[in-house]
């Protein structure tokens, strides 16, 4: 399998060249979205970063760090409010220093000042630092097994034979917790086998190839799955190669899939 990706200094080689606008708190998600929409970057809505206690503080902090350090990320602009629990100025040094910047809303002239400065900084990060193409020696594929599949052993063997490293997350039910764990293991592409009663999924930084089951919901939503339940291993590998080389998955085109940060404790 021959895949050419993007060299991201300090982050590894990715199959995508995404810029991430990372809101460190729910209060900065809207400004982050406006910047991302303007410059064509990715961001995500979330409800964290403040009012969190106990193990959720390091948990959410680590989650943000892992997102920012993912190999599919070209650069990161952290947008912080200023008075939140997860402080932007403390988060920044914990993420890859290469192409990472920070803006604090309370110190940057409010929401509009931050938006204007953010657009300029994001464009500079994008335009002044072009990622070099790089051949990916061993692509890391994540398997989201939110439902049981019959041919798992054969699929895994075939993927390995094709020179792919395979990471499995098999918590049953909804996909997003598996996707978050696969992200933290730095997989570059995800094969998602959604639960029969769940729709296809997506993850903003990582191409997700959705493979349908024969459930009524999946049949009804066939247009949003990349492959039907009848897809052969060869077809799956062929699609992985194409997606690795830049072809967009259905969920990348539609933009579906919120990033769900792990939370264990109530908010305060």
């Amino acid at each position: 399998m021959s895949i050419t990706g993007f060299a991201h200094k300090g982050r590894g080689v990715g199959v995508r060249d995404h810029q991430l606008i990372l809101p460190s708190v729910v209060c900065s998600t809207h400004v982050s979205r406006k910047i991302a929409n303007e410059v064509g970057a990715l961001t995500f809505a979330h409800q964290n970063g403040c009012g969190i206690i106990g193990i959720d503080v390091p948990g959410v902090d680590n989650f943000f760090i892992e997102l920012a350090n993912h190999p599919n990320v070209q650069s990161v602009l952290v947008i912080s409010l200023g008075c939140e629990t997860i402080q932007g100025p403390e988060l920044l040094p914990k993420i890859n220093r290469e192409l990472s910047r920070l803006l604090v809303i309370q110190e940057s002239g409010g929401a509009s000042g931050t938006y204007e400065a953010g657009v300029i900084q994001a464009k500079q990060l994008r335009d002044n630092f072009k990622s070099a193409p790089a051949v990916i020696e061993k692509l890391v594929i994540g398997l989201d097994l939110s439902r049981n599949i019959e041919n798992l052993a054969a699929l895994k063997a075939a993927l390995n034979d094709a020179g792919l490293e395979v990471v499995i997350q098999d918590q049953q039910g909804v996909s997003e917790h598996n996707l978050a764990k696969l992200m933290s293991k730095k997989v570059q592409i995800i094969l998602s086998f959604a639960d029969d009663n769940q729709p296809p999924s997506g993850f903003p930084l990582i191409p997700v190839i959705n493979i349908a089951s024969n459930s009524p919901l999946h049949l009804a939503l066939a247009a949003e799955f990349d492959l039907p339940s009848t897809a052969s291993v060869q077809e799956i590998i062929k699609l992985i190669t194409a997606v690795g080389n830049g072809q967009k998955t259905k969920s990348e085109v539609s933009g579906i899939g919120e990033i769900v940060a792990p939370r264990s404790v109530r908010s305060v």
Binding site: C50, I53, L81, C83, A111, G173, E224, R266
Partner: protein, 384 residues
């Protein structure tokens, strides 16, 4: 001063006539945002719920249905997959209010692209109807005011919060409803609020709700009096949770407490209430939205841009320095009280006036900036 609004036919009044786009599964959130961007003024929210039955199931169903029927909404477009759990939300919403509910289903649209297109078309039709509807004269009792503070500093308890208390007292005296939230932020001051309760029972409820709240945090092995005030509060000059609480409680003025409300539950008659909410700004706003609050005043010391999709949210600065530094998110400055250029009563009257102006249609900074965060508050975390 005359007040105008939209009568909803169930005793409730709206001061906005929004069309809300509410996704009923997290994968429909991006479509909701797209519909907002491409329609002629619909407002959308995003969330991370995947329709899994969890311990917080009832809380989530209630928050979705309650916000879908907030009196500030002309209509809500529910984006759905076509699953039975969505029927539960819709049935509940029909019980809660008379808001027009329009369902757009992905299984019928077949693709996200078609769903978004259908959503834009329906939103534009509904927006046309909403814009044609006229405001009518409303009584002051139409106001259901939410009291909130976030990013508090050492000025909060001596400027913006007591000034908001003046406005709240004035409104309550004229038959309006006012709701104080943020249980953690009355912790340490609950005995003072309990003395103002209309009956002994209501006073005891205030004490009990605070004790229950602290116990739920202790249960996690965390001492909340150690975790609060937050670091941002300490940088803002607050020393202890008790100091923060004494200041936060000032938002509710000096009126008697008519009752205590569980999180996101609507009051049944006018008066001043205490509601058990998290201090998390957005979880509080989402709870107010579900409880039928139709206007919110949010005091802030550090400055925060957030707002709500369903309620105009007025930002009041506690200090002039911040109000000057980030004017794009502040509607009114109470720092003038500390500056000595305005009395508490004078500033409180300005807040009162601004509440009426905003109710009558004046846009808040949060509305102008498009800020409407949303959050499904959970008591049990979201990791399954």
């Amino acid at each position: 001063m005359s007040l105008t609004g939209y009568e909803r036919g169930d005793g409730r009044w709206g001061f906005r006539n929004h069309v809300l786009i509410l996704p009923l599964h997290q994968i429909l959130s991006s479509s909701a945002r797209e519909i907002e961007l491409k329609s002629d003024g619909a407002v959308a929210v995003s969330h991370d719920w995947s329709q899994v039955i969890e311990k917080d199931h009832e809380r989530i169903i209630h928050l979705l249905a309650g916000n879908a029927t907030n009196p500030n909404l002309y209509a809500t477009i529910l984006l759905r997959l076509g699953t039975p759990i969505e029927d539960e939300v819709i049935a509940r919403a029909k019980k809660y209010g008379k808001t027009k509910l329009i369902e757009v289903s992905l299984t019928e649209a077949k693709s996200i692209e078609n769903l978004t297109q259908a959503g834009i078309e329906r939103a534009n039709e509904l927006l046309k109807e909403a814009k044609a509807q006229q405001r009518v004269s409303a009584p002051l009792s139409a106001i259901v005011l939410g009291l909130e503070c976030g990013g508090s500093d050492a000025y909060s308890g001596i400027t913006a919060n007591p000034a908001l208390g003046v406005a709240s007292d004035e409104l309550v005296a004229q038959g309006a409803t006012s709701i104080l939230g943020e249980t953690m932020e009355i912790l340490g001051a609950e005995h003072l609020l309990a003395r103002r309760a209309i009956t002994k029972e209501v006073g005891q409820q205030i004490i009990d709700v605070v004790a229950r709240y602290e116990a739920s945090i202790n249960y996690e092995g965390i001492d909340i009096r150690g975790a609060q005030p937050s670091r941002g509060n300490i940088e803002g000059g607050l020393s202890t949770l008790e100091e923060k609480s004494l200041g936060a409680a000032k938002k509710a003025g000096n009126a008697q407490f008519t009752g205590v409300l569980e999180y996101a539950i609507a009051p049944t008659k006018a008066g001043l209430y205490f509601m058990d909410t998290p201090g998390h700004d957005i979880e509080q706003l989402t709870g107010f939205g579900a409880a039928g609050v139709n206007i919110t005043v949010f005091t802030t010391g550090r400055g925060t841009p957030t707002g709500s999709a369903v309620m105009p949210t007025i930002k009041v600065a506690t200090n002039s320095e911040m109000a000057t530094a980030i004017p794009d998110i502040i509607d009114l400055n109470s720092g003038t009280i500390a500056d000595g250029t305005q009395s508490l009563e004078e500033n409180g009257k300005l807040i009162y006036q601004l509440i009426l102006d905003v109710a009558n249609g004046q846009l808040t900074k949060a509305e102008l900036g498009g800020h409407h965060e949303f959050n499904l508050s959970r008591l049990y975390g979201s990791s399954l």
